[in-house]
Amino acid sequence: MQTIPLSGRGDFSEWRDAARALAAAGISPRMVDWRIRGLGDELFAADALPDLPKPDESAPPLTVPPAFLSLAEAVVCHTEPGRFHLLYRLLWRLQSDRHLLELDSDPDVAWARLLAKNVKRDGHKMTAFVRFKEIAGQMNGRRRFFAWFEPSHFVVARTAPFFRGRFADMDWIIATPNGTASWDGERLNFDARPGENPGHGDPTDDLWRTYYASIFNPARLKLKAMQAEMPKKYWRNLPEADLIPGMIANAEANVRAMAEQAAKDPPLFHYRLQETAQAMPRIEPLGAGTIEALREEARGCTRCPLHCMATQTVFGEGPQSAPLMMVGEQPGDQEDLAGRPFVGPTGKVFDAALKEAGLARDAVYLTNAVKHFKYEPRGKRRIHEKPNKGEIDHCRWWLAKEVDLIKPRLVVSLGATALYALSGERKPLDQMRGKTLTMQGNIVLYPTIHPSYLLRVPDGAERRYQQARFVEDIRHVRQLVERLEAL
C-alpha cells in the first residue's frame, strides 16, 4: 500500500506528478491511499511526498485523451475527499479503454462529470456573486476594490483570470476562506492561505439595492426558481439579499393595492399630446393617377390576409412610360425584406438573362402578380408557397391599376401565376409559352417561364439549355417591343 499525501486545495500539478509516477510503476488504484495534508499544519508536516516508485521501463508510455486533462483539472478543485482516488482510477482504466470518457453512463465517468459540474457551477457563481467594494483613495492613479466571497470548492485560482479579463483597469483583491486572488494591473497573484473579511461597505450598494427592489414585479412571485439559482448560502455576502424577505412579504398586498387602484383621469399632458397629434398638418396626397400615389396606397393594402405575414408590400418599379412591363409571381424572402421586386437569387438569374439579351432593366416596369410574400416558416427559413386563386384575384386589382397607368405596349408574364393573373388562362405553360395573346386595350401579352424555374433545374447541360432558351425568349421580347414601338 502506497500513501500519497496531497495538499488538497485544488492544485492539479501535485496530483498529476504523483499519479504519473504511480501509473508508470504499474501500481494499481487499489494499492494507493490518497490522503489530504492539513494546510500549514505542523502535525502533518512529516507527510511530505514520499519517494515515488521507479517507473517500469518495459511498460507502454502513459497516454490520456485531452478531454481527461480538463476533466481532472476541474475535479481536483472539488472538496470531495475521494476525488484523487477517483481520478487515478479513471487514469488507470483509460490505459486499457481509450473510449472510457465517451461512456457517460459509466459510474466512474458519471461521478467525475458530476464533480466537475459542481466545480464549474461554483466557479460560475463566483463570477456572478462576487461584490466589489471600493477602497477609498487611489493607488498609482488606479481605483482599488475589495471583495469577500465564500465558495464551496477550491475555485479561486481557477476563476481569477476571468476577473483579470473583466476588471483590467482597476486594482482588486478577492479574499476567500480558500485563498486570495489579486490584480495590480500587471500581475495576477494567488495566495492559498485563508483570507480575511474586514467587512467593507460601499455607498453604491444603496443605489444597487434601490434598483434590485424596483425591478422586481410583485405580481409574479416564483421563490423556488429564485432559490434554485441563488442558494441561500451566498446571501450573506450579497448587499441586496436582506431586502428579499420584505419584498416577499409585501408582494401580495402590493398586487391587491394595484388591483384596487381604480384608473384615474389621464394627466394633463396626455390631452396636450392628443391635441398636438390632431393638429398635425395632413400630408398632402401625392398627385392622383401616378404610379407613386398607387404605390403609397398599396403600402397599407389589407385586401387579403397575406399582409399580416409578410414584411411589406413589394410594389412594382420602373419608368411610368415604359413600353414593356414584366410580371412575376410574388416576392421571395429577399424581396420581402428589401421591399423591391427581383433582388434575391431569382433576381440575379433574371438580371443576367436580361443583360445577355441586351435589355436594360431600368427601361422595364417590373412587378409581381401578388404583392405580398407567401411562405411557410420552417426552422430558421421561410419556404416559398404558391399563392392561391383567391389571393391572385384580390391582388389583380393592383395589377390592373398598374397596367392602366403604365399603358405598356407589351406585357411579359413570367410563369403560370402571372399568366393566370393577366389573362385568366390556366393551361400548362408548355402550351402557352411564346404564343402572344391580346389583352384589353390592345396590349400584347407574351407568356414565358418564371426565372426561378432555372434555379430548380439541376446543374449541367439541361440547365444551360433552359437558360439559353429563356435568354432567347427575352431577346424575342426585345425585338417585339422595338417593332411595336415603331408602329
Partner: protein, 409 residues
C-alpha cells in the same frame, strides 16, 4: 423639486420591469485584458442576482425616460397613465452602468426609453449612451438597446456598431390586436425595421474581399417580446407569429411576457394575475420549435389552439401520438429520441455517444440524469419494455399534477 438620482433610479427601473429579457448571452467573446478598459463578455451570460419573481438580473435594465407620447393600453408608461415620471441624462446612465459594473452587480446595460419629442430624438439619445460607453470609457461589457420603431436608419446603423443586441418589441401577436391596444404603433413598420436589421446583420457577416474579418455589427443579434394574455390571441396564434419572426428575421429570441396588472391600468384591460404557467408553456413550445424539430401545428394541433396547462407540450404531444412509442434508446435515430418526453438535447447526445460502446439499460439512463419516472413509459432499453402504452387508459393521470385550490385574484 428635482428628484435625486436614487429616486429616479427607482422610477425608471420600476418602469422597465415589464421587459422580460435581461439576457446577456449570444454575443462574441471579448475582454479588456489587452485593451486595458473595463469589461468582458463570455458568450454565455452571467446572472448576478435573482429577484423573488424568479427572474435573473444580468443587466442594468432601465429607461432613459418614462415620459412617452404614445398611448399603448398595456404599457405603464403610456401618456394617459398617472405614473410618476422621471428622466436620466445620458451621462447619468453611463455613470450608473460603469459604477454598477465595477462592483460586479451587472453584465452590462439594457437601455430602453419612452418616446419623447420624436423617435429620432429618443433613439439619438440612446445611441449617445452606447457610444460614450464604448468610445470614451473603453467599456467592453454587454449593451442591449431597445430600438425605437420609426427611428432613422442611420441611427439604427450606428446603434448596431456599439450594441451587442438590438430589440424591437412586436408587443402583440396579431396586427388587429396591436391596432386595438397600441394605436400609434404600426405593425408593418416594426416588421420592416426587423427585416432591415436582418439584412444589415447578414451584410456585415459577409467576409470582405480584403480580409476575412467580419464587421462587428449587433453580434448578439436581435430579439423581441410579445405580451401574452392582454388580448384574446390563443397559443397557436402566438406560436405562429414567433415562427414567422424566427424564420423571417433570424431573431435570437422571442420573449413571452405574461400580461401583468399595472397600477392605474387602462380600463380596456383585464386586471388579472399574470398567467405564469401559460407563459412557461409557451417557452417550452418555443424550444420544441427551435431545437427539437417540432412544427407549430404539431404542438398546438391536438389541443384546439391552447397548450395544456397541466403538462408540458412535449408530453402532451407524446400522449396524443402514442403510436410513435415506445422508442428504443439503443437503436432509434436522433430525431425520434428528441421526441421522447424527458429527454433533452444534451441527454440525447450522451445517449448517442454512449450506445456506440454499450447497450443502455435504465440504470445507465438514470446516471445520465434522466428522470426514469418521466421516460420509462415511452422507451425501450436493454432489459426494459414498457407495458403497451395504448393499453393504459390512465397514462395521462400518471403525469397529472395534484389538484390545487383556485386563488381569488
Amino acid at each position: 423639486m428635482k428628484k435625486s438620482l436614487q429616486q429616479r433610479l427607482a422610477i425608471l427601473s420600476d418602469a422597465a420591469k415589464y421587459d422580460a429579457s435581461c439576457a446577456s448571452s449570444g454575443t462574441v467573446k471579448r475582454d479588456s485584458a489587452r485593451t486595458g478598459g473595463l469589461g468582458s463578455t463570455e458568450g454565455a451570460g452571467i446572472c448576478h442576482a435573482y429577484a423573488p419573481d424568479g427572474r435573473c438580473i444580468s443587466l442594468l435594465k432601465i429607461l432613459l425616460t418614462n415620459f412617452c407620447i404614445f398611448d399603448c393600453a398595456y404599457c405603464i408608461n403610456r401618456s394617459s397613465s398617472n405614473v410618476e415620471r422621471a428622466r436620466f441624462t445620458p451621462e447619468e446612465v453611463v455613470w450608473l452602468t460603469l459604477e454598477f459594473y465595477r462592483r460586479n452587480y451587472i453584465e452590462g446595460l439594457f437601455l430602453s426609453s419612452g418616446i419623447i419629442r420624436s423617435p429620432d430624438h429618443t433613439m439619438g439619445e440612446m445611441v449617445r449612451v452606447a457610444r460614450d460607453l464604448r468610445t470614451v470609457h473603453g467599456f467592453r461589457g454587454y449593451i442591449h438597446l431597445k430600438s425605437i420603431p420609426d427611428a432613422a436608419p442611420e441611427l439604427i446603423e450606428e446603434a448596431g456598431l456599439y450594441a451587442d443586441r438590438l430589440s424591437l418589441n412586436i408587443e402583440l401577436p396579431t396586427d388587429a390586436g396591436l391596432g386595438r391596444f397600441a394605436p400609434e404603433k404600426r405593425p408593418e413598420g416594426i416588421r420592416r425595421a426587423m427585416g432591415e436589421l436582418r439584412r444589415k446583420i447578414e451584410a456585415a457577416d459577409d467576409p470582405t474581399l480584403q480580409t476575412k474579418r467580419r464587421k462587428r455589427f449587433v453580434p448578439g443579434g436581435q430579439s423581441t417580446q410579445m405580451i401574452v394574455g392582454a388580448d384574446g390571441a390563443d397559443d397557436a396564434t402566438i406560436l405562429k407569429t414567433s415562427a414567422r419572426l424566427y424564420s423571417g428575421y433570424g431573431l435570437k429570441r422571442v420573449y413571452y411576457s405574461a400580461f401583468s396588472p399595472i397600477p392605474d391600468a387602462s380600463r380596456a384591460l383585464p386586471l388579472i394575475k399574470p398567467p405564469l404557467v401559460r407563459e412557461h408553456r409557451l417557452y417550452q413550445a418555443d424550444w420544441l420549435y427551435r431545437f427539437y424539430g417540432f412544427g407549430v401545428e404539431e404542438i398546438t394541433g391536438a389541443t384546439g389552439g391552447m397548450l395544456d396547462l397541466d403538462m408540458d407540450p412535449k408530453l402532451a404531444w407524446a400522449l396524443a401520438n402514442r403510436q410513435d412509442f415506445p422508442v428504443d434508446v439503443n437503436r432509434a435515430e436522433r430525431e425520434r429520441l428528441l421526441r421522447v418526453p424527458g429527454l433533452g438535447t444534451k441527454t440525447v447526445t450522451s445517449i448517442l455517444s454512449s450506445r456506440r460502446f454499450r447497450r443502455l439499460r435504465l440504470e445507465d439512463l438514470a446516471r445520465l440524469g434522466v428522470s426514469l419516472r418521466k421516460v420509462r413509459a415511452f422507451i425501450e432499453a436493454e432489459g426494459w419494455v414498457p407495458l403497451r402504452l395504448a393499453d393504459r387508459a390512465d397514462l395521462k393521470a400518471l403525469f397529472a399534477p395534484k389538484p390545487e385550490q383556485l386563488s381569488l385574484l
